[in-house]
């Protein structure tokens, strides 16, 4: 669908230092053209600073930004073919909606500015608001105007800075779908900055997770979820149970044996990071089963249960006192009660394995999740 193949966006050793701290450590990142890309991380992780450098609103301390083969890092913001949907939208309050949308086109001397702006408004289904002023519109409408105002310029890259942050949950879901639809329609590279892991995973083709000014991991949502590369990613995206274990030897059939607080378990050898024996064996809550269904089995006591409709979430205390989260689909299988002694089991290979020298709780407080 893309009309002007301008190439991928590449950040090369890009960094930003402020007076007192380093917002972004030198990072390398390539975002393929036409992709819906999410930059995900807790507030203050450097994702917005990175975005602002791409927009030209912040000058990089070092490094370069390329679109295709062109280095754009020296080009001023107003000459860059990159547009931004700002947090809280930044619509010009003294201009009509139509004039807001036509603003960029007019600056480039486009003769058809008004017609194109009207067309862009129709795309976001707000053609009838053209003559209104921004604060006559609801938050969701303003959000779509901001989107139209940026897209109408057909930028090489569209930057979205927490664009849904100010909307309520229902509107947010709706806009997530809408944004994906529009992105598919126009075929422009979208870079979406957000701190909401669910939003990033539902919308983006690829996600880059940032933490403390560094890239933690880049990949598809499924890769990040199933094979997180660090405890931060494991905890920040979804819930994780990290079982401290030691790899003890080869068990054949592509499996290795491990010792988890004195209990023998099996893991997939290919999941073990090179040259490491002290590890966290990570199991997502829904990979656990209550009862003896898998080859790995542990005993525990239910300490809490909460019914969420589709599933029931249990807290189970293991013999050495560690609590794990177990999520069981409400598919008719028997439910456990608080205080009940249960078996929990899982299949080798459904786990991910991380080097145990990292901070076990990294990325945890930011999501508000807590367990064990």
């Amino acid at each position: 669908m893309a009309e002007n193949p301008s190439g991928d966006l590449r950040l090369v050793q890009l960094s930003k230092e402020f007076d007192t701290f380093t917002a972004v450590h030198p990072l390398d990142l390539t975002i393929p053209q036409g992709e819906f890309f999410a930059l995900l991380g807790p507030s203050g992780c450097g994702k917005t600073t990175t975005l602002r450098m791409v927009a030209g609103l912040e000058e990089p301390t070092s490094g370069a930004i390329y679109i295709g083969d062109t280095d754009i890092s020296e080009i001023k913001a107003f000459k860059r073919n990159v547009n931004t949907v700002f947090q809280n939208y930044a619509l010009f309050p003294h201009m009509r909606i139509l004039d807001n949308v036509a603003f960029g086109l007019k600056r480039r001397g486009d003769k058809n500015a008004m017609a194109k702006a009207q067309e862009a408004l129709e795309l976001v289904e707000l053609g009838h608001t053209a003559k209104k002023k921004p604060n006559q519109l609801s938050g969701g409408m303003q959000q779509r105007v901001a989107l139209a105002r940026a897209i109408v310029n057909r930028p090489d890259v569209l930057l979205l800075d927490e664009p849904l942050g100010a909307l309520d949950l229902k509107l947010r879901r709706q806009m997530q779908i809408e944004l994906k639809r529009i992105q598919a329609d126009v075929g422009i590279t979208f870079i979406h900055v957000t701190h909401d892991q669910e939003e990033a995973m539902t919308m983006a083709d690829s996600v880059a997770v940032m933490n403390a000014g560094r890239l933690e991991q880049v990949g598809s949502p499924a890769e990040l979820y199933d094979r997180p590369a660090s405890t931060f990613v494991a905890n920040f995206l979804g819930q994780s149970n990290l079982l401290t274990s030691r790899i003890t030897g080869d068990a054949g059939e592509g499996l290795s044996s491990a010792d988890c607080h004195g209990y023998p378990i099996l893991v997939a050898t290919e999941n073990i990071p090179d040259g490491v024996s002290d590890v966290f064996v990570g199991v997502r809550p829904e990979k656990f089963r209550l009862g003896r269904h898998g080859r790995n089995q542990l005993k525990g006591t239910v300490t809490d249960d909460s019914f969420t409709g589709v599933a029931t979430q249990y807290l189970v205390r293991l013999p050495w006192g560690f609590e794990v989260t177990v999520i069981q689909p409400n598919d008719g299988s028997p439910r456990a009660k608080v205080g009940e002694n249960v078996d929990i089991s899982w299949e080798p290979g459904s786990e991910f394995i991380l080097d145990a020298s990292q901070d076990e709780d990294a990325g945890m407080l930011d999501t508000g999740l807590r367990h064990g």
Partner: protein, 305 residues
């Protein structure tokens, strides 16, 4: 204009750092600051220098460094100086008492009448100060309504007893001067107070009531502390001009109510004793700046403008 006034007392952070173009702010500042350097700062130097010169208008002045002029001037005019500060302080105090209920009502209770009341506060302020002061001569004159009411109620004896008036006339008295000063600078008190109270979230008052605060406690513990920036700005904007004013004391007072501005004016323009006039002017400036500086520090406001 309400914004203007409250900004005087408000604290705020400097704007965020912007990339590059660091010469821009200096280019913006140069014309204005040069003008103020030439016509505000330089005159302060010439004023100081004038006070240390000896001679007369006809033969010219020579700089002799006669610092003795300061104690001399001070011993001669300290009653006027302290009288001025006292009048200004009274006008500020009464202004605050009068302005607060009006500002609070406009900000929190007036609803759709808010703008109309604001207009009625601002409009007289744009009308000639002098003419309005002359109107007070009419209002307070013997045989006028105010005078009759005061006499009928016996309030004239109270005023007499307090030494604010003499006999049964209200005019040409301490009372008239302070009333005039209070009146003249009242909008300067109302507007910053209004701006501060207007930003007050009414839910805070409800929360205070919900947490068992009485009406008075709500005022004392919630409303008043949050309106302090407005109070500081308003009292400064009232006290400073009132202390140097002499229009009210001249038009509404008598020979016992002469304020310091009147003395400086006549020393400069009638007596033509420039050094003494300059010294007195300088003393007034130093006293005001010292008082304002002390007050601002006490009130804890940092960025003044």
């Amino acid at each position: 204009m309400a914004n203007m006034a409250v900004a005087v007392g408000g604290t705020e952070a400097p704007p965020p750092r912007r990339a590059g173009r660091n010469w821009v702010p200096y280019a913006l500042l140069v014309p204005g600051l040069l003008f103020l350097a030439f016509f505000y700062a330089a005159p302060m130097v010439t004023l100081g220098s004038q006070s240390l010169q000896e001679g007369n208008v006809y033969d010219g002045y020579i700089l002799t460094g006669n610092v003795g002029i300061y104690p001399e001037t001070l011993s001669e005019y300290w009653p006027h100086l302290f009288r001025s500060l006292g009048y200004a302080a009274s006008a500020t105090f009464f202004g605050l008492i009068l302005a607060y209920p009006l500002a609070y009502y406009m900000a929190q209770k007036a609803g759709r009448w808010k703008n109309i009341m604001l207009i009625l506060v601002i409009a007289p302020f744009f009308t000639s100060f002098l003419i309005r002061t002359l109107a007070w001569r009419i209002i307070l004159s013997d045989g006028g309504v105010v005078s009759d009411v005061v006499q009928a109620s016996g309030f004239d004896h109270v005023l007499n007893f307090m030494g604010l008036t003499q006999g049964d006339t209200l005019l040409n008295s301490k009372f008239a001067v302070i009333a005039g000063l209070t009146y003249n600078f009242l909008p300067f008190m109302i507007l910053p107070l209004f701006a501060a109270l207007d930003r007050l979230d009414p839910r805070l008052m409800e929360a205070a009531r919900d947490l068992y605060a009485s009406g008075w406690q709500t005022f004392r513990r919630v409303i008043w502390p949050l309106s302090l920036p407005g109070v500081v700005a308003g009292t400064l904007l009232t006290f400073i001009p009132a202390a140097g004013d002499y229009i009210n004391s001249r038009l509404l007072g008598n020979t016992q109510t002469v304020m310091i501005g009147q003395v400086i004016d006549s020393l400069f323009l009638r007596v033509l004793d420039f050094p003494k006039a300059a010294a007195l002017s300088f003393i007034l400036l130093v006293m005001i700046v010292a008082l304002v500086g002390f007050y601002v520090r006490k009130a804890g406001t940092e960025e003044l403008v």
